[in-house]
């Protein structure tokens, strides 16, 4: 097994799926000759040619709208939106069509497409390059919303997303594109979309997170063990829609305490839904109010202040300790 960054792991998924299946077409701005601005599609143009690593004109609605037609035709387009902050120019195509074509046509047509987009903060970028607006997509019936947290699960989930018969919005936490490496098997590996995993076992408290926030969350769990003698269980959601509520509600029934960590805004964010599911399914075992550690309800500030916006180990620790004291 090779040690890979998330960028390399995503590239491996694309390279292998394109080799397996000539229906898989990668398209987007700069994904061809340039290999993508983050190099996720590096080498695809050379290996598979310009018709399968397709540079598009600069128009997000065009990319997604055309990919919908390609998917209806029977291809498996993987559309890249260069930054999730520009996905709004295609939002109508996603909401009005990608999410509904199966439903509208009563199953006659389906849209097996993936929309990949780097998202979230932490890379000292310009405005519109730091948001976490996964809730828009998780809120929309007919879509799937997947967010990996490391190289290995990114690769396995992207393979599953490409093979999925329905549209998958695949948000890649760009702050960890190259932040660390993991062993990624050369042989095929898939992970089921709609299933969360236990990233760390424990019985005193449940920490629920996903994407780049898994790192501070896991670091906080380690500190709780070292400094407080507390064993936190950490759930990595991996898919926001359909949400696997069995795993985290079962965990909370065991621990009685839950802290949800995400960098998306708090109001109407994923944490609100997760907390509701806990209330619906695990209320009687709760020992303390559910806490949320999230981005604030402000536009993500320019990068001089972005670290203050982002949840970090200290904020997770403090919420966890409050929960434990209750």
């Amino acid at each position: 097994m090779a040690k890979m960054t998330m960028v390399q792991a995503l590239n491996l998924a694309l390279t292998q799926e394109m080799a397996e299946d000539d229906r898989v077409i990668v398209l987007g701005e700069d994904v061809g000759r340039d290999g993508g601005v983050f190099r996720v599609t590096d080498g695809l143009f050379e290996t598979y040619g310009e018709s399968r690593a397709l540079d598009t004109p600069l128009g997000e609605a065009g990319i997604v709208g055309m990919a919908i037609g390609m998917a209806i035709y029977g291809l498996r387009p993987v559309a890249e939106i260069q930054f999730s902050g520009f996905i709004y120019q295609a939002f109508h195509q996603i909401e009005q069509h990608a999410a509904r074509i199966r439903w509208r046509s009563r199953g006659r047509f389906n849209v097996p497409m993936v929309i990949r987009a780097p998202f979230a903060a932490g890379v000292r970028a310009l405005e519109h390059h730091s948001e976490s607006r996964e809730a828009y997509f998780a809120h929309t019936p007919g879509l799937k919303m997947v967010i990996p947290s490391g190289p290995r699960n990114a690769r396995a989930l992207l393979v599953s997303a490409i093979r999925d018969p329905d549209p998958v919005v695949f948000f890649e936490p760009k702050s960890i594109y190259r932040a660390f490496r993991e062993e990624v098997p050369e042989d095929e590996e898939v992970m089921e979309i709609g299933k969360s995993v236990i990233a760390r076992e424990g019985q005193d408290l449940t920490l629920i997170s996903y994407g780049a926030m898994m790192r501070p969350t896991l670091a906080a769990a380690d500190r709780l063990t070292e400094e407080d003698g507390v064993q936190a269980e950490v759930i990595d959601l991996l898919t926001l829609s359909p949400l696997d509520d069995t795993l985290f509600t079962t965990s909370v029934r065991k621990t009685g305490r839950a802290v949800i960590v995400h960098e998306a805004h708090r109001s109407f964010g994923p944490g609100a839904e997760i907390a509701s599911r806990i209330m619906e399914r695990s209320f009687w075992t709760l020992e303390a109010p559910i806490k949320r550690v999230t981005g604030y309800d402000v536009v993500v500030p320019f990068f001089a202040r972005e670290q203050a916006y982002l949840p970090d180990v200290e904020r997770v620790l403090s919420a966890a300790r409050e929960t434990l004291r209750a």
């Binding site: 598009t56 055309m66 919908i68 069995t246």
Partner: protein, 363 residues
């Protein structure tokens, strides 16, 4: 030489074959079989009569809001008739006459406008996309279908319909641009019916024609008399031939008129005059074509009466079938169908929640 002239294609051809009295320009008249000419007429007339029936059903509260085709039958049928079975037809919401010709059923359309998702079905083997309501958005799907056709080395085409209002949308321009860049077999059919609800064509764009909007994207355009089914057919056939030959997309502007309401929720008296409507009534695409057919000896009063009777019977049967379905108790649980290839626990739970609520109501 600080200033020089760059030559760009800057003319738009206008095509009309039938005059207002149904006479054909002998230089332009296409050679078409009697059978084909009569089928154009049949589908146009069916479209008109079906529209009229739907309007009555809507006024009686038996179906919901819909967008009548009335006046645009030639634009609908002329373009759709140039397609073959394996081609794709991508519609907006004012193409019922053309859709019926391609194999969507009247029963499904009635159910669709009666509020039943079941009516959105497209029969297997019919390459039509379902009704697309967000204006102009479907143009990109036709480009994607055409891209797939080209990728697979087929010589089919994807034809997309939209109105004059759609030409103000970004998606329309992105679609033309992408189609131009990839040189894909897309045929863009703009049914310029002069009105986007209450906004006239003159307030939609300062451009002289809508057909010229393709030029900046490297897509040739042609304007046709949209109330002349022969002209629409010939323009569509030429565009399809270009597309099949690998020469890329064409934008056809069919100049026509929405003789009825935008939708049944609209009152055109608020924004246009009866005089204007009357001018266009004189150019009725069906009347014009009937005169042409009579001149050719293909139609007379007796044949027309027989055809009317036949169409009436067909519509009556479709209405009966649709109304039978609509008279039966509706199954609300159908709303959970076809969201994804498979169902998921939250949907299973919510479906059960509704089923329980329904059975509580019954008991």
């Amino acid at each position: 030489m600080p200033r020089e002239v760059i030559e760009i294609p800057s003319t738009i051809e206008y095509l009309t074959i039938l005059d207002q009295d149904g006479g054909a320009d002998p230089a332009l008249e296409p050679e078409l079989s009697d059978e084909f000419l009569l089928s154009l007429h049949r589908w146009m007339l069916l479209g008109r009569r079906f529209d009229e029936r739907m309007l009555r059903l809507q006024r009686q509260g038996r179906i919901g809001t819909f967008a009548p085709v009335m006046g645009q039958e030639a634009a609908n049928v002329g373009a759709a008739a140039a397609l073959r079975q394996s081609d794709w037809m991508v519609v907006a919401f004012r193409e019922a006459a053309g859709e019926l010709m391609r194999g969507r059923t009247m029963e499904d359309l009635l159910l669709y406008y009666g509020g039943y998702n079941e009516g959105g079905t497209i029969p297997e083997g019919v390459n039509n996309l379902p009704t697309s309501i967000p204006v102009g958005s479907q143009a990109l799907h036709a480009v994607g279908l055409a891209w797939g056709i080209k990728y697979r080395g087929k010589d089919d085409v994807a034809m997309v319909f939209f109105g004059d209002g759609a030409t103000s949308q970004g998606d329309f321009h992105e679609a033309l641009n992408f189609a131009g860049v990839y040189k894909v077999p897309t045929v863009f059919v703009c049914q310029n019916n002069q009105w986007a609800i209450s906004v006239p064509r003159s307030r939609q764009t300062a451009a002289l024609t809508l057909a010229q909007k393709g030029l900046a994207h490297g897509v040739p355009g042609i304007q046709v008399d949209g109330n002349d089914v022969l002209a629409v057919y010939v323009a569509a056939r030429e565009a399809i031939e270009r597309a099949r030959a690998g020469e890329g997309a064409t934008l056809i502007e069919a100049v026509t008129y929405r003789m009825s309401v935008h939708t049944t929720a609209d009152d055109p008296k608020r924004y246009r005059t009866d005089e204007e409507v009357e001018v266009w009534r004189q150019r009725d695409p069906i009347n014009r074509f009937q005169i042409y057919l009579r001149t050719k000896g293909l139609l007379d009063d007796e044949k027309l009466a027989g055809l009317e009777e036949d169409i009436d019977q067909q519509i009556r049967e479709a209405v009966e079938r649709a109304e039978k379905t609509m008279s039966e108790p509706v199954d609300p649980l159908v709303m959970f169908d076809h969201l994804y290839a498979e169902s998921y626990p939250h949907l299973v739970d919510q479906r059960r929640e509704l089923a329980d609520a329904l059975s509580d109501k019954e008991s």
